[in-house]
Amino acid sequence: MKRMGIAEALREAIAEEMRRDHRVFCMGEDIGIPGGWGGAFTVTLGLEKEFPDRMINTPIAENGFFGMGMGAAMLGMRPIVDVQYGDFLLCAMDQICSNASMMRYMSGGTVSVPLVMRAPVGATGRGAQHARNLERMFLGVPGIKIVAPSTAYDAKGLLKAAVRDGNPVMIFEHKLLYGSKGPRTESGAVDATSDIPDDDYVVPIGRAAVRREGADVTIIAWLLMAHAAQAAANVLSAEGIEAEVVDARSLNPLDYETIGASVKKTGRALIVEEGPITGGVGAEIAAGIQERFGDCLRTSVRRVASPDIPVPFAPVLENAYRPDAARVAAAVRAMCGR
């Protein structure tokens, strides 16, 4: 057992998968460079020493190398491609959404695309173009699985599950949760370290995790917001409101079994999302809950999310953009009539 942050846990997952399966390789910008940073957030730091031929450093050409990742996957490789910031997924949108996601279906189930895509998201003081939470953009694209871990344990287990899945899987990682060290330390970082077992394990895609039990309200969140939800739950507990925190972890498919069991118990559901409220993942979850468990609800489903604006730069505005424990707690109080 070792204590690790998300960046380290992902690095270990990649190394173990590359050791286990020679088809696995990494492709991305500024990876595998001696003296470099190991990608933008140190996840692949030093891996070139053990795998000199399987850390492919690309030119800045996202649409190109995401498409190449797909092509390589079709011929039996297991690529892990990454963007330095999630925002640049939009440069590769065509290959991801028109090709990788639909190839299986268009081929009548004869072609498979075991492609893992990694993308750091979250507002971190860098301004509008290095800040967005892109989960929403891929949720409505059938054919791509989406995971979004909030702990190092889940990050490692989900990445391994993604490599072994056999489909295109997008893994969103939060910049404030990496626990990157040295010059790449993030200010405002939140502790997401876990005890990582020595033995191989996977966290199955499609399963949520109940982080905290409670009978009064269900708070559903992922990535950084899962931490905000737990912090809010602690505050609320002192006030006599017991919140159940469900870390969605997997956004496609969503685990309605776990969500449903919780909502049936509490009768109240709040979804917390970093990103504009309109058209977010929260909207989908809200509709999903209403359709499936509407009869069990004591009050309407609520969302805490960002305003419908680009991510602002100034810290006061960015902090107002990003939901926090105080806003989550306030929403819960309102739902519980306090």
Partner: protein, 339 residues
């Protein structure tokens, strides 16, 4: 990669220019250097939020190109925009205010370091998606051509950006429609930590532009006069409807890629060799060698710039941040359709 141009600015080249013009070039470059050094310090001491991409060592490209532009010409920039903005006429104060996240900044604190700009001064907020500003610049040039206006666009980007599809699509369209845009590729030999030799088989990035049938030149980007002369020729061509032109400006980043980058991927000898090619040092030596300018005159210029920047820092430090009332404004322009 070691420097490939001789260190000395040729005597006959510097002899062509008025003393006042040369002093202006020096002042402009020094302002950028001093600004960046001051900002680096503010950032490291934690006074400034966010991240920064700085341009120490690349001052001659920004200044050389902008001196060849008219005030009402346009410029587009990247994640590394401070030098371009200063050279285009944005004040140190309006940029500092933005870096501190003040409502009084050039983008009201909504943009930040990677999105510096001021449309009234011909510079839309910089675009931090690598390559993203290149089609935008070509589109601005298209508008200028359709409107039969005399202005041109200078489009700055790095060596790394020339691998993006956006570069290739935009240069080609600018080429087939003869658009008035000068593509200013600052080839500082690295895209982040990746050396340019790892991203192309071509001996020169210039060839990525000649492939689209446009004139393309490789220039000593640390000789401000060489940059100025090539940019002026390019600007004349663009104004005559014979654009676009591509300039490969060979330079070197004497600072980290971003914030606390220790640059371990750059060989020590390479860094040292390029430090000696510092564009400010080179101009300074050439000026003194020419004899019409004294050390104390240069020091007076430097002192005035330093004082002005220090004053701006003091104002910017105390400037008010936006309020929550500003959070949701500026998302849309007022609709032109009456309700």
């Amino acid at each position: 990669m070691m420097p490939m141009f001789p260190r000395e600015i040729p005597r006959d080249q510097i002899a062509k220019y008025e003393r006042s013009f040369l002093l202006r070039l020096y002042e402009e470059m020094f302002r950028i250097r001093e600004f960046e050094e001051r900002v680096r310090f503010l950032f490291l001491e934690g006074a400034m939020p966010g991240t920064i991409h700085q341009c120490q060592g690349q001052e001659a490209t920004a200044v050389g190109v902008c001196q060849a532009l008219n005030e009402d010409d346009y410029l587009t920039s990247t994640h590394r925009p401070h030098g371009h903005a200063l050279a285009k006429g944005l004040t140190p104060l309006e940029i500092l205010l933005e870096l501190f996240g003040s409502i009084e900044g050039c983008c009201k604190g909504k943009g930040g370091s990677m999105h510096i700009g001021n449309m009234a001064k011909g510079m839309p907020p910089a675009i931090a998606i690598v390559g993203g500003n290149i089609p935008v610049a070509a589109g601005m040039a298209l508008a200028l051509k359709m409107q039969k206006r005399p202005q041109i666009v200078a489009c700055f980007f790095g060596d790394g950006a020339t691998s993006e599809g956006a570069f290739h699509e935009a240069v080609n369209m600018a080429a087939i429609w003869n658009l008035p845009v000068v593509f200013c590729c600052e080839n500082n030999l690295y895209g982040a930590s990746t050396h340019v030799s790892k991203i192309t088989r071509l001996p020169s990035l210039r060839q990525r532009a000649t492939a689209y049938g446009i004139e393309a030149l490789t220039v000593d980007g640390n000789n401000v006069l060489a940059v100025y002369e090539m940019a002026r020729t390019a600007a004349v061509k663009c104004r005559a409807g014979e654009g676009p032109v591509f300039l490969e400006l060979i330079t070197y980043r004497l600072t980290g890629h971003s914030r606390r980058d220790p640059c371990l991927y750059m060989p020590k000898e390479e860094r040292a060799a390029w430090a000696a090619m510092d564009p400010l040092l080179r101009l300074r030596e050439a000026l003194l060698d020419r004899g019409e300018v004294t050390v104390s005159e240069l020091e007076a210029v430097e002192l005035a710039v330093k004082q002005a920047i220090e004053q701006a820092v003091e104002i910017a430090r105390k400037a008010p941040p936006p309020t929550l009332d500003d959070l949701e404004t500026d998302v849309y322009a007022k609709s032109e359709v009456g309700i």
